[in-house]
C-alpha cells in the first residue's frame, strides 16, 4: 500500500460552538444554521465566500445535506454528508482537506449538530441501524450503555482495569470542564462521587455515560494563504487517518482501527506520540479513552490501566487530555460529539481556548470513534493538528 500524500498547505480555522442545551424544541436545521452563521461571523466571510459544505447530523432527517443548502440558501460547488457519528469530525476534515487541496472547493464549512427533543434519543436508538433494530434493541433497549458495558466488562477482565482507573479520567475531564463555558456539567466531580454513582449497566456507572443534548460545532477548511488573507489563526493539518470495520474476526471489541493506521498517521505528520502536546479522544465511555491511549501508541495494548495510574490528565497534568471536558462533561450533542475534539484541539494549538490552555501546545492529536452498528464501534479516525 502506498503512503497517502500529505495535506500540503491545507489549514483548519474558525472553531465555532453553538452552545449546548440539555433539551431543545428547536430542530437540527436551527443548530446547523447557527453553526454556519458562527463560521461566517468568525471568519468575516460572506455566505458566498463558502463554496463547500460538509454536514454531520443524526436528526436532520428527512433532509440530507442537500436540503440544508436550500434551507440556508447557500450555493456550493462541493457538498458532502458524513453520517459517522463520533468519527464524523475526522472524516469530514479528511474529505474537506482533499477537496481544498485538489481545488474542488476553496472554503469548506464543516458542521455537525443535532436537536434533542425529550423523546428523540429513544427514537434514534430504536432505529439506529438495521442490525441494532433486529438484534440489539429488542434485548432490554438499554442503548449504547449496554453495548459499552459488554466491552468495558471484557476489557476490565482481560487487562485489569478498575473502576478507579475510569473514574480518574472522568474526574480529570470534569476538572478541565470547569473552565469551559459551554459545559453542561458545572460542578466538580470527586472520585468518591464517581464511585458512588449508580450502576446503569454494570460496570457502567452514571458518570461513565455522556448526557445527550442539543448543540453544534463547526470549523472551516481552506488554504493557508486564504486564512492569512482573512487574518484568521489556523492550524495545519499534518496527518489524518480513518478506518471502518477494522477487525471483523475479533469476537468482541478490545481494539479499534487506529492500530492499523497509526504508523501511517505519524509518518504522514512527521511527528510521533512523544511530540503530542494535547490529546482529544472520543470519550463516549471511559474504556474507549483507554483503548485510544493504547491503539494510538501512547502505551502498549493492555498497559492502558498502568498508563492511567502513572499520568495526570488535567490541563496542567503530565498528559493533558480532553481539555474542554470532553463529551462526558460538556454533553453529547449528537454528531457534534464527533467534532468537539477537533474544535477544542484547534483552539489549543491556536492559543484561542475558551477554557484552560495547555502551555505551548503545538501538536494536538484528535481521535474519533463511532457507530455501534451492532456489537462494536465500526468507525475510527485520527488527525494531527500543528500550530502555524
Amino acid at each position: 500500500m502506498t503512503a497517502a500524500a500529505g495535506y500540503d498547505d491545507v489549514v483548519v480555522t474558525a472553531p465555532v460552538t453553538v452552545p449546548y442545551q440539555r433539551y431543545s424544541t428547536k430542530g437540527a436545521h436551527w443548530f446547523l444554521g447557527r453553526a454556519v452563521a458562527g463560521l461566517l461571523d468568525a471568519s468575516g466571510l460572506p455566505k458566498s465566500g463558502i463554496d463547500g459544505l460538509c454536514v454531520s447530523s443524526f436528526s436532520l432527517g428527512p433532509d440530507s445535506a442537500v436540503g440544508l443548502t436550500q434551507h440556508l440558501d447557500v450555493s456550493l460547488r462541493w457538498l458532502d454528508h458524513i453520517p459517522m457519528g463520533g468519527a464524523s469530525g475526522i472524516v469530514a476534515l479528511r474529505r474537506a482537506a482533499r477537496a481544498v487541496q485538489a481545488g474542488d472547493a476553496s472554503v469548506v464549512a464543516c458542521i455537525a449538530g443535532d436537536a434533542n427533543r425529550v423523546d428523540s434519543f429513544r427514537e434514534s436508538t430504536a432505529r439506529f441501524s438495521l442490525f441494532s433494530q433486529d438484534a440489539v434493541y429488542p434485548y432490554g433497549a438499554g442503548g449504547p450503555n449496554v453495548s459499552f458495558a459488554f466491552l468495558t466488562a471484557y476489557y476490565m477482565r482481560t487487562y485489569g482495569a478498575t473502576a478507579e482507573d475510569f473514574g480518574k479520567l472522568c474526574v480529570a475531564q470534569r476538572s478541565n470542564a470547569l473552565h469551559y463555558p459551554h459545559a453542561l456539567f458545572t460542578t466538580p466531580l470527586t472520585l468518591d462521587a464517581y464511585l458512588a454513582s449508580r450502576m446503569i449497566a454494570d460496570p457502567i456507572r452514571l458518570f461513565d455515560c455522556v448526557m445527550p443534548c442539543a448543540g453544534a460545532e463547526g470549523f472551516l477548511v481552506m488554504r493557508r494563504a486564504e486564512a492569512e488573507r482573512l487574518g484568521l489563526p489556523y492550524a495545519r493539518l499534518l496527518g489524518a487517518i480513518e478506518r471502518h470495520n477494522p477487525f471483523p474476526d475479533d469476537p468482541i471489541q478490545y481494539r479499534g482501527g487506529w492500530v492499523l493506521d497509526r504508523d501511517a498517521l505519524y509518518a504522514q505528520a512527521g511527528v510521533g506520540p512523544r511530540d503530542i502536546d494535547v490529546l482529544q479522544t472520543y470519550d463516549d465511555y471511559p474504556v474507549i479513552n483507554i483503548m485510544q491511549f493504547e491503539d494510538l501508541g501512547f502505551c502498549d495494548k493492555g498497559e492502558g490501566p498502568g498508563f492511567v495510574r502513572r499520568n495526570s490528565f488535567e490541563v496542567g497534568g503530565s498528559f493533558p487530555f480532553n481539555t474542554c471536558g470532553g463529551q462526558l462533561s460538556v454533553g453529547q450533542a449528537g454528531a457534534a460529539g464527533g467534532f468537539l475534539g477537533i474544535v477544542e484541539g484547534l483552539r489549543q494549538v491556536t492559543g484561542a481556548t475558551l477554557g484552560a490552555q495547555v502551555d505551548g501546545a503545538r501538536h494536538a492529536l484528535v481521535s474519533g470513534f463511532g457507530m455501534i452498528n451492532y456489537d462494536r464501534g465500526l468507525c475510527s479516525g485520527a488527525a494531527i493538528l500543528g500550530a502555524a
Partner: protein
C-alpha cells in the same frame, strides 16, 4: 359455578399492556419461523456454509445471495455480560433489571442474548436457545449447558412463557377424551382454577364425573354453537380467565361423495370454525384487557386444531375444510391478540386416538400425550405445536412442497401416504 363477576375498583386505572420492541427487518423474521416451533435457526450460506448473525441479505463471507435458515445447536461462550438497570422502553422499565450478554457461537457469529439467571458469570460455556418474547418476536437466550434448566425458572424470562402454574384456565369442552385429558393435565400442572365447559348436561361420558371431583375444577355450561351460551359464560368468568383452551371439536369422517346434503359439514363448521369465532368475540376482549395484570394476567389462547388444517385429507374431507377455516381464523385471532401480548398457540395433532379415528391406522396420539404437549408448549414459548410423529411428518412434507403432499393424500391414510 363460581361466584359473580369480579368488579374492578373504579378508582384504579387499568394497567395497559406494554410490549418489547417488535420492529424487525423482513429478513430477520426468518428466525421467528423457527422460534414458533422452538427451534433455533440461523442463516447459513448455501455456497460457503458461513453462519450469519444478525440476519443478512447476502453472505458476509462470499457475498452469495443464497442464505437459508438452518437449525443450530447454539453452543457458545458467554464472552461478556451486563445487568441493564435502565431502559428506553416501558416494557423493560417495568421489569428492570435485565441480564444480557455477548455470546460467541461455536458456529462463528457473536450474538447479543438474554442471559438466564442460572448461567455462570462470563466467561462461561452456554447454549443459546431461541424464544418468542411477549411481542411474539424471536429473541435469543443464553442458557446453562444443563438441559434441565427451563426458561421459566428465571423470573425475568418467565414472563415470556405462558406457564399454566397458578393460572385460571377455561377448557371449552371437557367432555371429549381430549378435553378430559386436558383438564387433568392442567390440574397436574398446578393450575389454580380450571373451568370445564360442557354442553348437553344430560350426557355423562365415562370419566367425566370423576373429573368434576378435582378440587380445581368447576363445571360451567358452554355450547360453542350457541352464541348466547358463549356470551353468558364470558359475562361470568371472562374477566378472570388467564388461558382459553379451545378443545371443542366436531369430527365426522366424510368426503363429498359419501354423504348427501351439507348438514354434517355445517355441524363441523358450527363447532370448529364458528365456535372459535364466537369464543374469540366473547372472550378475546376480556383477555386483552387483563394482559397487563402481571403474573396473574391473561397470557394465552390455545386452539386444538388438526394437522388436516394444512392440507385436505379426503377421507375426512369436510372436517379438513372446517379445520382449514379454523386455522385461518386463528391467524386472525393471533394478529388481534398480539398487541396485548397474548400468545395464540395453535396445536396441530395428527390423528388422535379417539372414536372418530377408529378406522385410521396407528400411530395415533393419545389424548394424554396431546394434553401434555400443550402444557409443555405453554411452559416454553412456542406458538405452533406439532405434537406427534404423524403431525411432524405432514409438516415436513407440506413445507417441502404442498402440491406433492396434496397428490400423496389423494390415495392415502394419514400415516402412510404415498
Amino acid at each position: 359455578m363460581t361466584g359473580g363477576v369480579r368488579r374492578k375498583n373504579p378508582i384504579l386505572k387499568t394497567r395497559q399492556p406494554t410490549l418489547p420492541p417488535a420492529l424487525r427487518s423482513r429478513v430477520a423474521l426468518g428466525m421467528t419461523a423457527g422460534a414458533a416451533v422452538g427451534r433455533l435457526d440461523l442463516q447459513q450460506c448455501e455456497q460457503c456454509g458461513t453462519v450469519q448473525y444478525p440476519a443478512r441479505e447476502v453472505c458476509r463471507s462470499c457475498l452469495s445471495g443464497q442464505l437459508v435458515w438452518r437449525p443450530q445447536d447454539g453452543l457458545g461462550t458467554l464472552l461478556s455480560e451486563t445487568v441493564s438497570r435502565a431502559s428506553m422502553e416501558l416494557y423493560f422499565r417495568e421489569r428492570l433489571p435485565w441480564r444480557v450478554g455477548l455470546v460467541q457461537l461455536a458456529a462463528g457469529p457473536t450474538v447479543v442474548a438474554y442471559v438466564h439467571a442460572a448461567c455462570a458469570a462470563a466467561p462461561a460455556d452456554v447454549r443459546v436457545e431461541v424464544a418468542l418474547d411477549r411481542a411474539g418476536q424471536a429473541v435469543l437466550v443464553a442458557m446453562p449447558l444443563d438441559a434441565a434448566v427451563t426458561l421459566a425458572e428465571d423470573p425475568r424470562l418467565h414472563d415470556m412463557t405462558c406457564d399454566p402454574t397458578h393460572r385460571k384456565i377455561l377448557v371449552t369442552d371437557g367432555k371429549s377424551e381430549v378435553g378430559q385429558a386436558m383438564v387433568r393435565a392442567f390440574a397436574a400442572a398446578g393450575a389454580s382454577q380450571v373451568w370445564v365447559g360442557h354442553a348437553e348436561p344430560w350426557k355423562q361420558p365415562p370419566g367425566f364425573a370423576a373429573l368434576a371431583e378435582l378440587p380445581q375444577v368447576t363445571l360451567v355450561p358452554l355450547d360453542v354453537t350457541d352464541g348466547q351460551s358463549v356470551t353468558e359464560l364470558a359475562g361470568v368468568i371472562g374477566g378472570k380467565v388467564d388461558i382459553v383452551v379451545n378443545t371443542a371439536d366436531h369430527h365426522r369422517t366424510y368426503g363429498i361423495a359419501g354423504r348427501r346434503g351439507v348438514e354434517t359439514a355445517q355441524a363441523e363448521m358450527e363447532v370448529n370454525y364458528l365456535g372459535l369465532l364466537r369464543l374469540a368475540q366473547a372472550f378475546g376482549p376480556a383477555l386483552r384487557g387483563r394482559a397487563a395484570d402481571g403474573d396473574a394476567g391473561a397470557v394465552a389462547w390455545v386452539n386444538i386444531l388438526s394437522i388436516f388444517a394444512l392440507a385436505n385429507f379426503p377421507p375426512h374431507g369436510t372436517y379438513s375444510a372446517a379445520q382449514a377455516a379454523a386455522l385461518s381464523l386463528a391467524q386472525c385471532l393471533r394478529a388481534e391478540m398480539r398487541p396485548a401480548g397474548i400468545r395464540v398457540v395453535n396445536v396441530f395433532p395428527g390423528p388422535v386416538d379417539e372414536p372418530w379415528n377408529q378406522l385410521v391406522l396407528p400411530p395415533k396420539i393419545a389424548p394424554k400425550g396431546l394434553a401434555d404437549a400443550v402444557v409443555k408448549a405453554l411452559k416454553a414459548t412456542v406458538e405452533d405445536v406439532y405434537p406427534d410423529p404423524v403431525a411432524r411428518d405432514w409438516l415436513e412434507r407440506w413445507r417441502a412442497d404442498p402440491k406433492t403432499l396434496e397428490r400423496e393424500l389423494m390415495a392415502a391414510s394419514p400415516s402412510s401416504a404415498g
